[in-house]
Amino acid sequence: MSTTTTPRPKAAATTSAPAWQRVASRLDWRRDIIYVGFVVVFVVFAVLLGDQGFLSTTNLLNILRQTAIITIIAVGMTFVIACAEIDLSVGSIAGLTSITAAMAIAAFGLVPGIIAGLAIGVVVGAVNGSLVAFLRIPSFLVTLAMLGIAAGVAQWVTASAPQPILDRTFNTVFGSGNIGRLPGLVIWSGVVVAIGAVVLKKAKFGRQVLATGANRTAAEYSGINTRAIKFRVMMISAMAASLAGLLYAGRLQSGRFQWGAGDELSAIAAVILGGTALAGGRGSVVGTLFGALLMGLINNGLILAGLDSSQQQVIRGVIIILAVALARNK
């Protein structure tokens, strides 16, 4: 008797569950926490900092502009991390690209300058990729070494001096120009995010990256050339970093070895916040975009709230740990 009556109240409870519970049950917590977090932080800042101009168009565009370059680096990083590798050399690649482009523009003109800058990405990406894919050296070590090498070369050849860029076309196209009120940087990052998102989610290559990252052996048995995949993700990351270097150069109208220094950590944080698994196999470029935006949002809000940079660092660190910890379990 009792066994037939007990399930009843339970069933009644599920059918009458409030709407928010049904929405919550459809959310994949691990994947979607970034969007929830973004909305929560945005609303909190809008309420608390509305008077300080947080919601003004200028401020919101500022946030977009300030996160644009990190977003581009982080899109490349998403592929690398989804493939269960890491790239610590991206910041240095950006710096080395900026000085190379600046010096080449001064010596040979606009187009050779752009080509020379991007060539840095090709060369460093090919070296990173070969060492990781063919010699099977852990990417952490390869790119940690490359971080030092690229930064060192950039500082060495310029003797630490900034290299001014006087070519106005370059500066306008890469970072300093606007289209209407929309900063050119934001357009660059929008294009990169769109391409990255489609490739990771919809192209065969993206599927191969995820498969290789989740289970290399299984991917190989499915006919995927996992070495080529590993090589190409390292290449993509270096190329994205190289583009970021050109944008630094254009926005700051100079090349300098410090441009991009430390960006690898911000980019990795954005990727992980965005729901890409550090162990590989799961990744989202749109998530990465929101990860970068969330960090930009927090920086901006904390500045408006009048916190100094040391306090900002502490709070940023706490938020990252919180977000990643929350995303671990359902």
């Binding site: 489609v198 919809k202 192209a203 065969k204 993206g206 599927r207 191969q208 995820l210 498969a211 989740a214 289970n215 052996t217 299984a218 991917a219 048995y221 499915s222 006919g223 995927i224 698994a277 196999g281 799961r282």
Partner: protein, 502 residues
């Protein structure tokens, strides 16, 4: 067979050697379309090498392979796959973070305008799953599915690539009973569709249930190919297990039952993969646990050593109940485990022989809180001598030693803790004949000093040579206990494991 239809697979004169050691010699194998063909043989008989040649993983040294009448000269997995060879892997080859549909079409995704057409992929996967009558949601993420569905997904994946020959290697090892039924029904449907299945299994009941013919390999050569209506289980078991006794072994001397006190009393033990194990071990007794893969042997060892949680039942040691929540508890209770995979679980390969030998003993080798080098040296020298480990430099990394010597280090390491109960999981796997004999001798000697020893092994000659009693495990339970005096040969032991009367 009076038919013009070509064979699904014809392998003839296959020969393969690794580093000068011949593992396959002039082997032939014929598989008819729509046939389930069992492939059997003991460890090292050459089954997996033969299958890897068919899959294009290994290159044959000589011989021909034809698939549906066409010569297969594929030297790659892709080439064999294109010819219609599909493999259902024992170690699953699925990507856990992708969906069922994405896995089925991994690397052969349908595209539209250059981009993956996920919608078409899902509906094609659903069609495929419906065709083989398997109820799995193609949009489900594989990592969220139970293992049985992984396997069905794996089969669907092979079929999605137009496999007409499926190789299944011990497919039921990790399945529960009703899941096995579902798999067999699927195999039946595949047969009707003309798909040939090569079925590797050690389980006679399964082989008789679904296979049409069987080929038995022994020592890299064909022993027999027969229809299952022409051969008895006893003949098959004799064919698999009845290899020549290694010259180092002589049949077990008749041993009287050990009369020491009961030191380990296990009652109705439940843990992951173990569903009720009851047995006793006496001081001075060697108890062998025999069972097929997936029968719960290794799982029992893990539970006794506190690695997997005991969910029900009791373990009594010297008459008092012990808690086994961690390996540390087990060591304190006087239980030691010599694990199955010595390279992974038994040794720190890059550490020196001395460091490995004294790792579980460090507590007793300290002076003023720090590890005392001279005590480590003395202790390890004693162990090296006691177990006659052939080691030129005790300070050299353990990885440089032979498999046999590594195994002796693992045994010595645990005996250093002076356990009263020693659980050994596959102690003679992958060691040379000489070391096997020595391990058998060491085990017997340890028993004589009053220790209780549990040996899990799928190498029956060694098991017979060292044990006083055998526990037969099946489906996580101890189903039978047999005294050594009742087991005269490996064949008899194998029959007991298979649940067949001699």
């Amino acid at each position: 067979m009076p038919t013009d239809a070509p064979l699904a697979v014809r392998m003839d004169g296959i020969t393969k050697a690794f580093h000068g050691v011949t593992v396959l010699e002039d082997v032939h194998l014929d598989i008819r379309p729509g046939e389930v063909h069992a492939l059997a043989g003991g460890n090292g008989a050459g089954k997996s090498t033969l299958m890897k040649i068919l899959q294009g993983v290994y290159q044959r040294d000589a011989g021909v392979v034809e698939v549906f009448g066409r010569p297969l000269d594929a030297t790659t997995i892709e080439g064999a796959r294109a010819a219609g060879i599909g493999m259902v892997f024992q170690e699953f080859s699925l990507i856990s973070t992708l969906t069922v549909a994405q896995n089925i079409f991994l690397d052969v995704e349908p595209t539209r305008a250059g981009l993956i057409d996920d919608k078409a992929m899902r509906s094609r996967a659903a069609e495929l799953l419906a065709r083989i009558d398997v109820a799995i949601d193609p949009a489900a993420e594989v990592g969220d599915l139970p293992t049985a569905q992984w396997q069905l997904t794996e089969i669907a994946k092979a079929l999605g690539q137009d496999a007409r020959v499926l190789i299944m290697d011990e497919p039921t090892a990790s399945l529960a009973k009703h899941e096995v039924e579902a798999l067999f029904e699927l195999v039946g449907r595949l047969k009707e569709q003309g798909i040939a299945i090569i079925y590797i299994s050690h389980r006679m009941d399964e082989v008789y249930r679904i296979a049409d013919r069987i080929t038995i390999l022994r020592n890299g050569k064909n022993l027999i190919t027969a229809g299952l209506d022409e051969i008895t289980p006893q003949e098959i078991v004799a064919g698999i297990a009845g290899r020549e006794l290694s010259d180092a072994e002589s049949p077990a001397p008749a041993r009287g039952g050990a009369t020491g006190p009961v030191i380990l009393d296990v009652a109705d033990l439940h843990a992951a993969g173990v569903e009720g194990a009851t047995f006793q071990v006496r001081a001075g007794e060697v108890v062998g646990i025999a069972g097929l893969m997936g029968s719960g042997r290794t799982e029992l060892a893990r539970a006794l050593f506190g690695i997997s949680r005991i969910t029900r039942g009791t373990v009594m040691k010297d008459g008092s109940r012990v808690r086994l929540d961690s390996p540390a508890d087990a060591i304190n209770a006087g239980i030691a485990l010599i694990p199955e995979d010595r390279r992974l679980q038994g040794l720190v390969l890059d550490h020196s022989v001395r460091e490995n030998l004294t790792l579980p003993l460090l507590d007793g080798l300290r002076r003023r809180g720090l590890v005392a080098k001279d005590m480590v040296r003395d202790r390890s020298d004693r162990l090296i001598e006691q177990f006659s480990i052939a080691v030129a430099r005790p300070d050299a990394p353990a990885r440089l030693l032979s498999g046999g010597n590594q195994q002796k280090i693992v045994i010595a390491k645990w005996l250093g803790t002076e356990p009263e109960v020693l659980v050994m999981d596959e102690p003679t796997a992958g060691v040379d004949v000489g070391t096997k004999t020595e391990i058998v001798r060491i085990v017997r000697e340890l028993a004589q000093t009053g220790k209780g020893i549990i040996v899990i092994s799928s190498e029956y000659p060694e098991l017979i040579a060292m044990c006083d009693r055998f526990l037969i495990m099946r489906n996580g339970r101890v189903v039978e206990t047999i005294g050594a005096e009742r087991v005269a040969s490996e064949v008899e032991l194998e029959l007991a494991v298979q649940g067949l009367a001699a």
